[in-house]
């Protein structure tokens, strides 16, 4: 596995800002066709599952939509879940831009959430202006440290980051489990004491209708992270070197870039983004760190990056899509088991992963036949 290139999404197109109508159309097809094909496949499989339960697909999908985008609470929950997935999706996408596959977002976000709670607890009753930034910094730092390990091992020994990050997930989760259960847990629970500073306000404090939903102002941090992602990649020297490394390590090396150093930096930043995502549940929702509170977010983050094709806007949209599925599962649970959406999520990932190469090949063949695009 030492030199596998893992770049499931399209080679990111940089710089070109839609110069002509034809190219725009081509880019749109490239970007939209695979996810659309994937969603259609998911729809068919969803229908089969619903029918196997003796229900009407139309009614189930209507319920899924009305339970998410159809009412304020459901929508708030979608926003809450999408916030977390935006962080993990950006984290995975950031790694992929450098040519690295970060499967470790699962452990990084847990470490970040824990660190946020630990910092907030340590600060006692400090004011929010101190508590929130420091807890956020702690979250990013913890995620960055977890990300640094595979980055350093890759740069130094060429150890494949996929396996290292997977293994590190288990190590980090076991470590957190030990710290929490042995030292910090409220008796009879698996969570820490509630924090007294650093709490992020709920959105419902601004919009009454969202009452009861977990959506909170962390969403602004997520949007900020998405904006930073684009800014860093496309407006800074570090981002320039990172993208060059991800696309063509040989050319980056030629351009005086130290490829190993870029790998390390990319994994640290990727981990930091994922770690920062931990604050959504800790500072914005529960007010404490609990075992397993972000479980699955790292893995779905891979799907988000894949469907979002490593662009900031794409990641946000894909995060909303997967959040809708996840929340929609709860909405339909009365009719069919909510586990149906877990199946659909997986189907979307497999279909996108398989359809991206297949569809792109078909598109390229078609375009070459038209004589439009240079081969």
């Amino acid at each position: 596995m030492a030199t596998t290139s893992v770049e499931p999404a399209a080679p990111p197109r940089a710089g070109g800002r839609a110069p002509s109508a034809g190219r725009l159309r081509a880019r749109l097809e490239d970007a939209l066709l695979p996810p659309i094909v994937a969603l259609l496949i998911a729809l068919v499989i969803g229908d089969l599952l619903i029918l196997s339960f003796g229900q009407s697909p139309g009614a189930v999908f209507a319920q899924l939509l009305s339970g998410t985008w159809g009412n304020a609470y459901g929508f708030g929950q979608v926003l809450f879940k999408a916030t977390t997935l935006t962080f993990t999706g950006l984290a995975v996408a950031f790694g992929l831009r450098a040519g690295l596959f970060n499967i470790g977002a699962e452990g990084q976000i847990a470490a970040g959430g824990f660190a946020a709670a630990a910092v907030a607890l340590a600060l006692g009753n400090a004011p929010a202006v101190v508590g929130i930034p420091l807890a956020m910094a702690g979250a990013a730092l913890a995620g960055g440290v977890v990300g640094a390990v595979p980055g350093a091992l890759k740069a130094r020994f060429g150890a494949h980051e996929v396996i290292v990050t997977i293994m590190l997930n288990f190590i980090v989760l076991a470590l957190l489990n030990w710290i929490v259960s042995a030292h910090m847990a409220v008796p009879e629970t698996l969570h820490t004491a509630p924090i007294r500073t650093g709490t992020v306000p709920r959105l419902s404090e601004l919009v009454d209708a969202l009452h009861g939903s977990a959506a909170n102002l962390t969403i602004l941090v997520a949007i900020g992270a998405a904006l930073w992602y684009s800014w860093y990649l496309f407006r800074t020297r570090g981002g320039y070197e990172l993208r060059a490394t991800g696309l063509q390590p040989g050319a980056a090396e030629y351009g005086g870039v130290s490829v190993g150093r870029v790998w390390l930096k990319a994994m640290i930043l990727s981990g930091a983004i994922a770690g920062l995502g931990g604050i959504n549940a800790v500072l914005g929702y529960k007010g404490y760190y609990e075992e397993g509170m972000t479980v699955g977010a790292g893995f779905i983050g891979i799907a988000v990056a894949l469907v979002g094709r490593n662009s900031a806007a794409g990641v946000v949209i894909a995060a909303l899509l997967f959040a809708t599925l996840s929340q929609g599962g709860l909405a339909i649970n009365a009719i069919v088991p909510k586990q149906m959406v877990e199946v659909l999520e997986a189907v979307v990932i497999i279909a996108v992963a398989a359809a991206v190469p297949a569809v792109r090949l078909a598109l390229r063949t078609a375009r070459r036949a038209e004589g439009g695009e240079p081969a």
Binding site: M1, I103, I163, F299, A303, Q339
Partner: protein, 293 residues
């Protein structure tokens, strides 16, 4: 006595690792990454439960369990071998799919979101719950054969030669007429059947299916494959080593000697160390994961 308990516990824990890791070796030696071992095990466990529940026969359970592992293996092979999708992405997705699908069908079949009713296992009860009960389980004996069989397959058969060629240098294999894709398909299916058996053992041992009952065992098996450097003999040793660590963890529970979580980290930490090459570098088959594109 404690030593004997420890030994038996180790063997019991090792059985599913052995099946799954043996499957992992076959697939990865053919060049296909198997992050989906966990999902295939889960499919095996669920299949075994269904089979045993509806027929009352543990042996039918075994067959259905193998089928369960094969279903998820086929999905993986279809996406990764046929369509050349990214093996890491699909592997993770197949795991998610297995968790979701077994939950869904658990509700469909048994109207429960946590566990199935009790099903038949191998009649261990006749011997009682003594330490040697494990010897009454035919799957235990099958597990003992798994690695020798895989080693023979890889080293002594024409198919095994083609598997190794496909995993190391597929272009060279194609250039002499080896149907590399078919070889990889078969290798992935073999890994699915073996990992399925690992799941079967879990389900029949506990006489039921519980939600996500594989609990990360597929990943321990992957760790064993890497730590054992893709060599059947070494991987077998790694499985037993990791199982012993887990048995130790059980022994230590409740004591203050060493937090059990640290013992649980051992397989993962050893794997990272092996990958970093601190004690003898783990070198993967040269073309592992490169089928995409």
């Amino acid at each position: 006595m404690i030593a004997l308990i420890f030994l038996v516990q180790t063997l019991r824990i090792a059985v599913p690792y052995v099946f799954a890791a043996a499957g992992g070796v076959v697939s990865e030696r053919a060049g296909i990454i198997t992050l989906q071992l966990e999902g295939m095990m889960l499919g095996g466990a669920f299949g075994a439960t269904l089979g045993a529940f509806y027929t009352g026969s543990a042996w039918v359970g075994v067959l259905c369990g193998i089928l369960g592992g094969l279903v998820f293996a086929a999905i993986h092979a279809l996406a990764c071998v046929h369509w050349r999708a990214n093996q890491v992405v699909v592997g993770i997705a197949v795991n998610l799919l297995a968790i979701g699908a077994t939950r869904f069908f658990l509700r469909l079949a048994f109207d429960s979101s946590s566990n199935s009713p009790r099903v038949a296992g191998f009649s261990v009860e006749q011997i009682g719950s003594g330490l040697l009960a494990i010897t009454a389980n035919p799957l235990f004996w099958l597990a003992l054969l798994a690695f020798p069989a895989v080693a023979l397959l890889l080293d002594r058969t024409a198919f095994g030669l083609r598997v190794r060629a496909a995993g190391e240098h597929p272009e060279a294999a194609v250039s002499v007429g080896v149907p590399v894709r078919r070889v990889q398909w078969i290798a992935v299916l073999i890994s699915g059947a073996l990992a399925g058996l690992g799941g079967v053992y879990l389900a029949l041992d506990q006489h039921q299916f519980t939600d996500s009952m594989t609990a990360g065992r597929g990943f321990i098996a992957i760790a064993a494959v890497i730590f054992g450097r893709w060599e059947p003999r070494r991987v077998a040793v790694a499985c037993v080593l990791f199982a012993a660590a887990e048995a130790l963890q059980i022994q230590l529970q409740g004591s203050d000697v060493l937090p059990s979580q640290f013992v649980a980290m051992i397989p993962y930490a050893l794997t990272i160390v092996a990958l970093a090459g601190v004690v003898g570098r783990a070198v993967a088959p040269a073309a592992l994961g490169k089928a995409e594109g």
